[in-house]
Amino acid sequence: MPAFFAPSMARLIEELSKLPGIGPKSAQRLALHLVKGAEEDVRSLAEALMDAKTTVQHCSICSNLTDSDPCEICGDGSRREDLVCVVEDPSDVVAMERTRDYDGLYHVLHGLISPMDGVGPDELRVKNLLDRLREDEVQEVILATDPTVEGEATAMYLARLLRPLGVKVTRIARGLPEGGDLDYADEATLSRALRGRYSVDSG
């Protein structure tokens, strides 16, 4: 298909279609939109891309993406430093922050263990988590990976790995979503919620 476009356009479409979630059609639409727009807009986008790529780095403490090292969260000072929440990727940090219920620190793994995809602990930010727990005064590690097959396995792997360090390890709860409808929940979720029930103390 790109053969029908001028070579410069074809190249742009090709580059765009490498992005996740962008198919050839979307890439074509984006490319046409870009060249049609004002030059400043395109320059601004190009600069933003390069700027992000050259500036952004992994925080040396939590491995989250940051412009300055240590990242804002690790460097905050007002947050609890005895609590670390382990998540799969930076977007999970954003999700956790949105709750405004968590004021501890994070650790971003940048993936989940998946042998079939060639991802083991060595491909993840596991080693610097261990270093961090040995040095810092962390009392509790919350494992907040997805409740998928790989997320569970990663959490269990970490739980075993961290046990000898004498730190308290917890796993986020699973069950019904807030405001959810009981009869819309699938069997596995509901059964999990049932097993995770808690007693309601009056008074």
Partner: protein
């Protein structure tokens, strides 16, 4: 009761195009060998199970020289009417629509139509390897429980991941400590999901076994007994019989968890998982002896028939409605007396499709329609 009101086929096996409005009771499909009788039953079963009972390659179902096939049916479950459509295309694969809405997950479609098929190939259930018997349990339970289908999918994912890591460990000859650390995270999930699967199978088997036993006595021979046992790869099942489903699940989880731990060194050596529901089996016994080795050909066929009818009864208990019965060339295998008992046992209330080469094999009674099949064309009802 489950009722098929209309069946449409396009480019499916021997059918270029077919529109059939079946009788609500018994439908006899009569025709010579290779006329397309089985293909018709297969297409109905396809809508129920989401796959063919004869092949796992959808491309084989496409009429010679065409690129795809289409099956659609209007089915009534009790008073609710559903339109279910399946389109397959060599380049795009298969897709399902339920009441006009495209369905992403096959698991949302399976179970809209319930059907049980009796086929001459069924002898594999006794004579074949364990995978056929496992597939039988999984398809049947899967038809009525979405939770079970999800559990199976999740289990096979965990299993694939763990086998992958075991293979890598066994190749690299890692130390025992590393090996344990890498394989253990998958074991807890294997035990948890595996226990769900086994517990549901065991509960299903209790009822199914009872139904099959009763059918064997009634239709086949009241002097002989038929029993179905679950052969568990990791534990004896003594003491599990009285347990309710949740207790049973917990009981199995403990056994499986222990077995995985015990098997781990061997598994690391071999490079794959040795225990779990993927290695379990069923054993069919006639008069207490393994039917595979000790039963005659006739007893084996009768046992299978009883198992299939037991399946129908079981499914009826579970869903509250009688599934469609697809009887492929069963009558020719039975003597007249058994055939009559079979007709009265299964054909009474549910919708049935029976194939035969000779009309004299089938006793239609008062209700029903006869359809003649010749070279992918159906004419009728002739009665």
């Amino acid at each position: 009761m489950m009722q098929l009101q209309k069946l449409t086929l396009k480019n499916y096996r021997s059918y270029e195009s077919l529109d059939l409005q079946p009788d609500r009771h018994v439908n006899v499909l009569v025709g010579r060998n290779a006329a397309g009788k089985t293909n018709l039953l297969e297409s109905i079963h396809y809508l129920a199970a989401g796959r063919s009972h004869r092949t796992h390659r959808d491309a084989e179902l496409v009429r010679w020289g065409e690129q795809g096939f289409f099956i659609s049916a209007i089915a009534c479950a009790g008073t609710v009417r559903h339109t279910i459509e399946c389109a397959y295309d060599d380049s795009r694969g298969k897709s399902f629509r339920l009441n006009g809405v495209a369905q992403k997950r096959l698991s949302n479609v399976i179970g809209t139509v319930n059907a049980v098929i009796f086929s001459p190939d069924d002898l594999y259930l006794i004579k074949g390897g364990p995978e056929g018997r496992r597939a039988l349990m999984d398809t049947e339970i899967g038809q009525i429980s979405r939770g079970y289908r999800r559990a199976l999918a999740r289990y096979s994912r965990v299993l694939a991941q763990r086998n992958d890591i075991l293979k890598k460990i066994s190749r690299s000859r890692s130390s025992g400590v590393t090996a344990e650390l890498m394989s253990a995270p998958w074991e807890e999930q294997l035990a948890d999901i595996g226990a769900r699967i086994v517990a549901v199978r065991l509960v299903m088997l209790r009822r199914w076994g009872e139904c099959a036993q009763r059918m064997y006595e009634r239709v086949v021979d009241s002097q002989e007994t038929l029993t179905v046992r679950y052969k568990c790869s990791f534990s004896a099942l003594d003491g599990s019989l009285e347990l309710s489903l949740p207790d049973l699940r917990e009981w199995v989880r403990e056994k499986l968890s222990g077995a995985l731990e015990e098997a781990r060194p061997r598994e690391i050596e071999r490079g794959y998982t040795l225990v779990g529901p993927q290695r379990d089996d069923l054993q069919v016994c006639v008069n207490g002896r393994d039917a595979r080795r000790f039963a005659s050909q006739g007893q084996q066929r009768s046992a299978i028939l009883a198992l299939r009818i037991g399946e129908v009864k079981w499914m009826q208990q579970e869903t509250g409605r009688k599934p469609l019965l697809l009887l492929d060339d069963v009558m020719s295998e039975l003597d007249a007396a058994r055939a009559r008992r079979l007709s009265t046992s299964v054909g009474a209330e549910g919708q049935t499709f029976i194939t035969c080469t000779d009309l004299s094999e089938v006793d239609l009674g008062d209700t029903g329609a006869i359809w003649e099949i010749r070279d992918g064309e159906v004419t009728g009802p002739v009665k």
